[in-house]
Structure formats: structure tokens, C-alpha cells
């Protein structure tokens, strides 16, 4: 039995404050627009397009993170090398840097004055004001989350399992697909969900690289600026609804993993 002293009530008070702080604005936002307005909003072609763009761009960003990030995550989980801390530090950078700075940094590399930008324009790739630009920015901010989750997954797979597999005649590639991947895929999937959630929520960096085509957060911002709170709310509700769905999916997946561990 916990002794109900000052410390106990102090912790309870803080917990309630934090819960209220997070939940109150969200509940208010979700309940503010009428059902009619919500319906009207989702029937608006511009809104639909922006949400669709947000989802597909974030999906592609997560997919790129998965393809490029998996080998790097594996490398970090399995090998010690000089400069590993530096590599991990670089991976963390997108989390630390202010979002508009990310947009500006990407534009400064993709611009015509930079050799990289010149190569891109020779290939006909445009970053400024394009879907490619949106995906680039989203990948930039999302990939750290994927790499961290995947690395954690690989860390949890004992290298001895891979050693045994090799000694039984499996090549490293077979070993990865037969042993490592089946044991780490939950973490990788959780990483993909985290990365896409992060990509969907990005505003500051995207708005600098591409105001148009409009992703959902930019549209919410625009409606707020032009028409006020009331008109931005329904779009926000739809976006939040989708993010919550992703979040729930993540939670169910990770809890399932924990339950499996308990069995062992």
C-alpha cells in the first residue's frame, strides 16, 4: 500500500496536469466542428487532395527510409568501428535541427548555384515546389526514427543465431532473410509507422520547400491564416484522425511484441 503523503499527491497532481495538458486541446479540437462541417470538408476536393498527398508522400518517405535505412541500421547494430558515434550523431541531426532550417538546408543544396542542384536539374529533377521536394524533406526528418527502431530490433537478435545459421551452411544473405528479418520485422514495421507519422506531421520544412502542391498541414495553416480557426479545424480533425489511427496501429503492434516476450 502506497503511503499517501505529500510525495504521492504531488506525483498524482503532475500526472493529471500532463494528461489534461495533452488531452484537453485535442478533445476540444476534435469536438469543435459539427458533423456536417466535417462531411463538407472531406467532400472538398482540395482537402482530399492535400490529405492524399500527405499520406502518399509520407508513405514514400517511409519506404525510402526502409530501403536505405535497413542496411545502415544493421551495420550499426552489428559492428563496432571508428567514427560510429559520429555516424549515430549525424543520424540524430534531423531530430535536433529546427524544421525551417531543414527546408532551407535542402534548398541550398538543390538550388542552381550548387553543383548538386545543377546535376539534379540536368536530370530534370525539381525540388522546389514539387512532390519530389516534399518527399525529400519528409525522408530527411523521418529516416532517423526508422533507423533507431530498426537498430533496436536488430540489437535484440543475438548474433549467435546468425553465427549458428552460417555454420549450418547458410550464406549471410540467406541468414538475414531466414533468421534476422523474421525476428526483427516487428521493430522494422514499428519504425516504418513512426517514420510515416513523423513525415505526415512535418510542416516547417515542407512549407519552405513546397507551399504548393499543398500537403494537409500546409492547407490547415493556409485556412487558418485566411479564414480563421473555424475553417482550419475540420481539416485538422481529419488529419489527426489519420495520425491517431497510425498511432493505434503502432501501439497494438508493440504490445503484441511484449506479450510474446513474456511467453519466453
Amino acid at each position: 500500500m502506497l503511503r499517501k503523503d505529500f510525495f504521492f499527491w504531488g506525483t498524482i497532481a503532475c500526472a493529471v496536469t500532463v494528461m489534461a495538458f495533452i488531452a484537453l486541446p485535442l478533445v476540444q479540437l476534435l469536438t469543435a466542428p459539427s458533423l456536417e462541417m466535417l462531411k463538407e470538408t472531406i467532400l472538398d476536393k482540395d482537402v482530399l487532395n492535400s490529405i492524399e498527398l500527405s499520406l502518399t508522400a509520407a508513405g514514400v518517405a517511409a519506404l525510402i527510409s526502409f530501403i536505405l535505412g535497413t542496411p545502415l541500421a544493421y551495420l550499426l547494430a552489428r559492428h563496432e568501428f571508428h567514427g560510429k558515434r559520429l555516424v549515430e550523431g549525424i543520424i540524430d541531426l534531423p531530430i535536433i535541427i529546427p524544421h525551417p532550417v531543414v527546408g532551407i538546408a535542402i534548398l541550398s543544396v538543390a538550388g542552381r548555384n550548387h553543383w548538386f542542384g545543377q546535376i539534379l536539374s540536368e536530370w530534370g529533377i525539381r525540388i522546389m515546389g514539387s512532390v519530389t521536394g516534399i518527399i525529400t524533406v519528409m525522408t530527411f526528418v523521418a529516416i532517423p526514427f526508422y533507423i533507431k527502431a530498426a537498430k533496436e530490433g536488430f540489437d535484440a537478435v543475438s548474433p549467435r543465431l546468425e553465427n549458428v545459421s552460417r555454420s549450418l551452411g547458410a550464406s549471410m544473405t540467406s541468414t538475414f532473410f531466414r533468421i534476422t528479418f523474421p525476428l526483427a520485422w516487428r521493430s522494422m514495421l514499428a519504425g516504418i509507422i513512426m517514420a510515416s507519422a513523423r513525415a505526415i506531421s512535418e510542416f516547417g520544412a515542407v512549407v519552405i520547400v513546397a507551399y504548393h502542391p499543398m500537403i494537409a498541414p500546409v492547407m490547415i495553416y493556409e485556412r487558418f491564416e485566411t479564414y480563421g480557426l473555424k475553417y482550419s479545424q475540420p481539416v485538422a480533425v481529419w488529419l489527426i484522425g489519420i495520425c491517431l489511427l497510425l498511432f493505434l496501429l503502432l501501439r497494438t503492434l508493440t504490445t503484441k511484441q511484449k506479450n510474446q516476450h513474456d511467453l519466453r
Partner: protein, 345 residues
């Protein structure tokens, strides 16, 4: 069969130096040493999982030093068994067959045989997490053996088992030696375990091999203080040797046999020292009287520490003997040992 020549390995803080030994075909060879001496690293290097800095590993006439692990035909069973948690027992065992060139039917037959031999029938569809330690170990053994390895590496196979299962495992090992053609290399930190299993072996310390030879030889004739400590030689003395006599601080011990030049130590196993309350008429060349300074319980045995002229000897007695002889701290007692029980190095 396997020969390891001048192996040098650097792995983080571990450094293995100048590892050289040979194991005959179908032999049972035990690598011993305290934890941290580099035994598991040596096994992993033989399996091809760690690349040595210099040196060679050969199987027969074929050099395998730079062969990837999957091409060596060497199976490894880890201390924690490392069963694939997402595969059932039978899938675990079948794993290596996916990569084997042997025909499918022969492989499946072998798998059935191993299930019977290792008493795993009925567990086929279970997952590793639902198995007991002993069962997990047998699955790991079956998985390692199904591919007909030329060499089977066992990493501390007994340390995670309770004593009852250890006996079972010893029997199993004997059985396996008769049933397979694999040469078995085993690692242990426990010398008594190695002695019970017999065969030949090597003692490792601090990344080097201290001694190679038969268990009996290592036990009776350790070549260094480290080995004699490791094999449990409690009575270890720095001495002056002259004319078949060893002198420890004025105490003269008759060796009754010659010794090599440069030897500076003698060692006597505690179980070779006989205690008696009175002077005995016996053929034993060395007899001393001393005082019991300490009695330490070791479970079934008692360690009796006796001081003779400031030199401390250690003898082992059973609880029965302890009571019968009324041994207690401070009591005067006689101790005897044969000159053949004295080992010099």
C-alpha cells in the same frame, strides 16, 4: 585432422597469441581455461566466424583459414543453445538441410534418426521457448549434427545444466562419439568436468595455450603454476631442489625421483595427503607433524589447512573422517604423502 598453427587473434580487448594444437580424426578434444581466457573466441575462429590476424587452420590437408563459415562443415553448439525462436523444434533441426547438397530423403532420414537418438520425439512441433534446458540442448545438438559436420564445436555444454542432467549429457556424448564421425571440440571452464569426460585437451590462460596433453597428464603433471591452480593442486610451493630433495623454508621433502633442471615448484594434490592422529608405520617417505589452523567446508568434503613450520598444507577429508578423527582447529596432527604424489615443474 584439425591443425591450428600459430593463430593470433585480436578482438576488442581480447588477444589470442600463438595458438597451436592438433586434433586427430574422431577425437574428443577439450579446451579448458578460466572464463575470459579466450576459449569461445578460439571456437568461433575455428568455425570461421572470426578472422585471425595471422596463422593457419587446416582440416586434413585443406587450409580453411579464409573459407567463409558456411563452407567449412563445422557446426557449433553455444552455451545458450541459440535456437531459432521463430522456428519449431523440427524446423530448427531441419534448418541446415536447406543448404545441404545431400538428397532430401537422406536428410529427412537422418533427421528422424537424430530425433530418436536424442529422445526428441513428440517435441517436433513445439517452439524453443516451451522446452526445458536439457531439451533445448538436445535440439541444438540435433540441429548441429543433421548436416554431418566434419567437426562439432561445443561451447560449455554442461555449465547451463543442473547436475542430474550433466550425467545424462556425458552418456549422450559417449553415445554420439560412437554414432557420428565428427571430431568433437569442447570448451569448459571446469577441470573436473573435463577430467570426467577424458580424452585429450589443452589449457588456455590469458589468450595463450599453457599445456596440451591427455587429461591424465595435465592433471598429474601440470607445467605451470596457472595449470596446477586450474586443475586444483592446492599445495603449490616454490622450493629449492637439490639431490632429490625439495626444501621449503627449512622443511625437507623427499622426492624419490629426479627432476628436470630449472624446476622451481612442487605441487601435491590435497587428496593425496593422508592425515592421522598418530605416527604411522608406512611406506610413505614424507611425514610431518603440524597444527590444524583452519577447516573449511566444501559441501561433501572438508579442506583441512595444516601448518608445518610456517608452511601451510591443505588436505581433503570426508565428513565421516572429520568426525571420527575429531579434527578441529588447533589440534596437532600427522600428515603423510608418497613421493610419487609430488609433482615438480
Amino acid at each position: 585432422m584439425i591443425s591450428v598453427e600459430n593463430l593470433h587473434i585480436d578482438l576488442g580487448e581480447f588477444h589470442l597469441r600463438d595458438i597451436t594444437f592438433e586434433v586427430e580424426e574422431n577425437e574428443f578434444f577439450i579446451i579448458m581455461g578460466p572464463s575470459g581466457s579466450g576459449k569461445t573466441i578460439l571456437l568461433e575462429t575455428i568455425a570461421g566466424l572470426i578472422q585471425p590476424k595471422t596463422g593457419r587452420i587446416k582440416i586434413g590437408a585443406e587450409e580453411i583459414t579464409h573459407l567463409p563459415p558456411e563452407k567449412r562443415g563445422i557446426s557449433i553448439v553455444y552455451q545458450d543453445y541459440a535456437l531459432f525462436p521463430h522456428l519449431t523444434v523440427v524446423e530448427n533441426i531441419r534448418y541446415g538441410l536447406h543448404f545441404s547438397k545431400e538428397n532430401k530423403a537422406a536428410g529427412e532420414n537422418h533427421l528422424r534418426e537424430l530425433l530418436t537418438l536424442l529422445n526428441l520425439e513428440g517435441l517436433e512441433r513445439r517452439y524453443p521457448e516451451t522446452l526445458s534446458g536439457g531439451e533445448q540442448q538436445r535440439v541444438a545438438m540435433a540441429r548441429a549434427l543433421v548436416v554431418n559436420p566434419k567437426i562439432l564445436l561445443l561451447d560449455e555444454p554442461l555449465s547451463a545444466l543442473d547436475p542430474r542432467l550433466r550425467e545424462e549429457f556425458r552418456l549422450l556424448l559417449k553415445q554420439l562419439q560412437q554414432n557420428t564421425t565428427a571430431t568433437i571440440l569442447m570448451v569448459t571452464h571446469d577441470f573436473s568436468e573435463a577430467l570426467a569426460l577424458g580424452g585429450r585437451g589443452a589449457v588456455m590462460n590469458d589468450g595463450r595455450i599453457e599445456q596440451t596433453g591427455s587429461m591424465e597428464d595435465i592433471f598429474q603433471r601440470p607445467v605451470s603454476t596457472m595449470v596446477s591452480n586450474f586443475v586444483g593442486m592446492k599445495n603449490l610451493f616454490a622450493v629449492t631442489l637439490k639431490n632429490e630433495t625439495a626444501t621449503i623454508e627449512g622443511l625437507q621433502i623427499q622426492l624419490g625421483h629426479s627432476y628436470r633442471d630449472g624446476h622451481r615448484f612442487i605441487a601435491i594434490r590435497p587428496e593425496d595427503i593422508v592425515l592421522s592422529a598418530e605416527q604411522l608405520q608406512s611406506s610413505m617417505r614424507n611425514s610431518f607433524s603440524g597444527q590444524i589452523v583452519r577447516i573449511i567446508s566444501q559441501g561433501f568434503y572438508y579442506e583441512i589447512h595444516i601448518e608445518v613450520n610456517k608452511t601451510s598444507f591443505c588436505a581433503l577429508v570426508t565428513k565421516g573422517a572429520l568426525v571420527e578423527m575429531e579434527l578441529q582447529e588447533g589440534k596437532e596432527i600427522f600428515l603423510f604423502f608418497k613421493s610419487t604424489a609430488i609433482h615438480t615443474f
